[in-house]
């Protein structure tokens, strides 16, 4: 071990300011990637669960809902078969589920039970870099999840359009924008009084049910349709349908979907960073 032996020499030129300033260069530039690397390495602890859900979920949902339920419904929805209609919604929901898994309890833990965020911030990593790194790691889990889902959709014959592959991107955008909102909320939790369960039951679940996942929101009574309009999942689902089977939507609405999702992501990011700074650097 050679810990800081230089500093013991009386009269030695300390501190070396030039070298000191240089010490922060790599962390300032690559800090977010280091955080992502850390979180990805930690995923090894639950790698088996990841693999099972990545392969099992699409099989179960596409088969159960897309094939089973579709058999009952047996009528085209908005110019597509029921399977084609429901598949892009399930794809976007799969991305949102990854966010809900990675950004509820783990974020509370990072501040409290494990407090690793404080450890990371004590190293030369800023709160914003921690937020970015976590999101990057979530992306690393989300992209293969959605990608494998998409392959299953192809196999089930749920993607008639050649543009369909782009629905992977729209699903990921949806997952990240919902994820950043979840992170903004969870980073504020100081005492766990069941907030993650509340988000799951009264946030994610209703969003899943009322975002035009299983039927167009136009079938809902008008006083419930607003849930779809404000729901990022509805915008992401519609975008996925535009891409995967060419659902006829006016161009302006397609642009609104994209802008809405990007706007939610930006707001979620700003709120998350603000809370991370407040809690880590108080």
């Amino acid at each position: 071990m050679s810990a800081a032996t230089d500093s013991a020499i009386p009269g030695a030129p300390v501190p070396d300011l030039v070298e000191g300033r240089r010490a922060g260069r790599k962390p300032r530039r690559w800090g977010s990637l280091y955080v992502a690397e850390h979180k990805i390495l930690a995923m090894r602890a639950y790698l088996q669960t990841l693999v099972v859900t990545i392969l099992g979920n699409p099989l179960l949902y596409l088969f159960g809902l897309g094939v089973g339920l579709a058999h009952l419904i047996n009528a085209p929805v908005g110019g597509a078969s029921y399977l084609q209609f429901v598949a892009p919604a399930l794809l976007a929901s799969a991305a949102v589920t990854v966010s809900a898994n990675e950004l509820t309890y783990p974020v509370i833990a990072g501040f409290k039970w494990n407090a690793i965020y404080f450890g990371i911030n004590a190293a030369p990593i800023s709160p914003a870099q921690i937020v970015n790194g976590i999101v990057l790691a979530v992306l690393v889990r989300m992209v293969p999840t959605v990608g494998v889902y998409f392959v299953f959709m192809l196999v089930f014959g749920a993607v008639p359009s050649a543009l369909g592959v782009l629905s992977i991107a729209s699903a990921v955008l949806t997952g990240i924008s919902v994820g950043l909102l979840i992170m903004a909320a969870m980073s504020r939790v100081v005492d766990d009084r069941g907030q993650p369960a509340l988000i799951q039951r009264f946030g994610i679940m209703p969003m899943f049910l009322f975002s035009g996942t299983f039927f167009p929101i136009s079938h809902l009574p008008i006083y419930l349709q607003w849930i779809g309009w404000v729901s990022p999942l509805w915008h992401g689902t519609q975008l996925g349908r535009d891409l995967s089977y060419g659902m006829a939507e006016p161009a302006w609405l397609v642009i609104v979907h994209v802008l809405y999702l990007v706007a939610i992501a930006i707001v979620g990011w700003l709120l998350s960073v603000r809370t991370f700074v407040r809690r880590l650097n108080k």
Binding site: A3, A4, S7, P15, G20, G24, H38, A122, A123, N281
Partner: protein
């Protein structure tokens, strides 16, 4: 004296109206082992967070390794090692991976960090636990791993906030031994503690902190010389009789402190004082003559005991 690695001047940290740190000033020289001694809530940890460049000061001047933490946070933190009060190891990672991942935060290349991790595991006497889960380690082992993690970047200053709180005596002694080795190698140590024996073991110089201000500063022995006598006689007459008996002890020793559970008599010759007390016909239940400690210094300075 070589240029200070830490210079704090009139440092203040306020939370709304409450001043957690209320105008403290100190300097730490390279290679020095410097302590902040005080009870819980004295402002030690807040000071450490400011020195660790993760908490901004409300006012005052602060320079760490010649840099202002407001502007050069990451640059300063790149050169520090931090051992927080509560371990914040990643329990999803194995023991060795905790070191590897942490080393990456300083931009250390993977190959280099792998070698460094093995050295540090050896230093922390954890080589055989490299692949263990963090949750399977004992409290003392976790603490040593946290210290090893703090050394991963070969820091110029090691900050330790209550390094041995919550550890059993054996684990404390192992930890002190490791810290003493670092000190011998010339690592600058800054530590907070509310254990006077820890401060006496590890600190070349310390400040006694209470309510966000510095009450006294000096080496442990100098502080004891200045604020206490060489020896102390501890007498117990039973908790309901201590105050009553104290009245009959007038003139004994240099100074008397009456605590709820015992009476302390400060003197340079404890045995002689004890003989005099017995000669007065007083019969304490237990007696003890000991050398003065920093606990006595703290009691003298604040009128309160360190651990309440």
């Amino acid at each position: 004296m070589p240029e200070a690695v830490i210079t704090a001047s009139s440092l203040v940290k306020k939370y709304k109206d409450f001043a957690a740190v209320d105008g403290i000033s100190f300097e730490v020289a390279p290679g020095e082992s410097f302590g902040l001694l005080g009870p819980n809530g004295a402002g030690k940890s807040t000071t450490m967070r400011m020195v660790g460049a993760v908490s901004t000061r409300t006012s005052g001047a602060l320079s760490i390794l010649g840099l202002d933490p407001d502007e050069y946070g990451p640059e300063i933190r790149s050169q520090l090692g931090v051992v927080p009060q509560a371990d914040n190891l990643d329990s999803e990672l194995r023991v060795r991976d905790n070191l590897i991942v942490y080393g990456r935060y300083f931009g250390i290349p993977r190959r280099q960090i792998a070698r460094r991790a093995d050295e540090l595991l050896e230093f922390a006497q954890l080589s055989d636990r490299a692949k263990s889960r963090v949750d399977d380690l004992s409290g003392g082992m976790k603490r040593r791993l946290t210290i090893a993690r703090a050394l991963v970047n070969d820091p110029r200053i090691l900050l330790l906030d209550e390094p041995t709180t919550g550890l059993d005596p054996q684990a404390r002694h192992i930890l002190w031994d490791r810290l003493f080795r670092l000190k011998e190698q010339g690592t600058t140590l800054v530590l907070t503690t509310h254990y006077m024996d820890e401060a006496e073991q590890l600190c070349d110089r310390l400040v006694v902190v209470d309510k966000g201000t510095i009450m006294a500063e000096g080496s442990p022995s100098a502080l004891i010389r200045e604020y206490s006598t060489r020896e102390v006689v501890e007498l117990r007459f039973g908790s309901d009789r201590n105050a009553e008996v104290a009245a009959q002890l007038a003139g004994v020793g240099d100074r008397i402190e009456v605590l709820p559970d015992r009476i302390l008599i400060y003197s340079d010759n404890g045995e002689a004082e004890l003989a005099a007390i017995i000669a007065r016909g007083l019969t304490p239940i237990t007696t003890l003559v000991r050398r003065s400690s920093l606990e006595d210094v703290f009691l003298r300075l604040t009128g309160r005991s360190l651990i309440e």
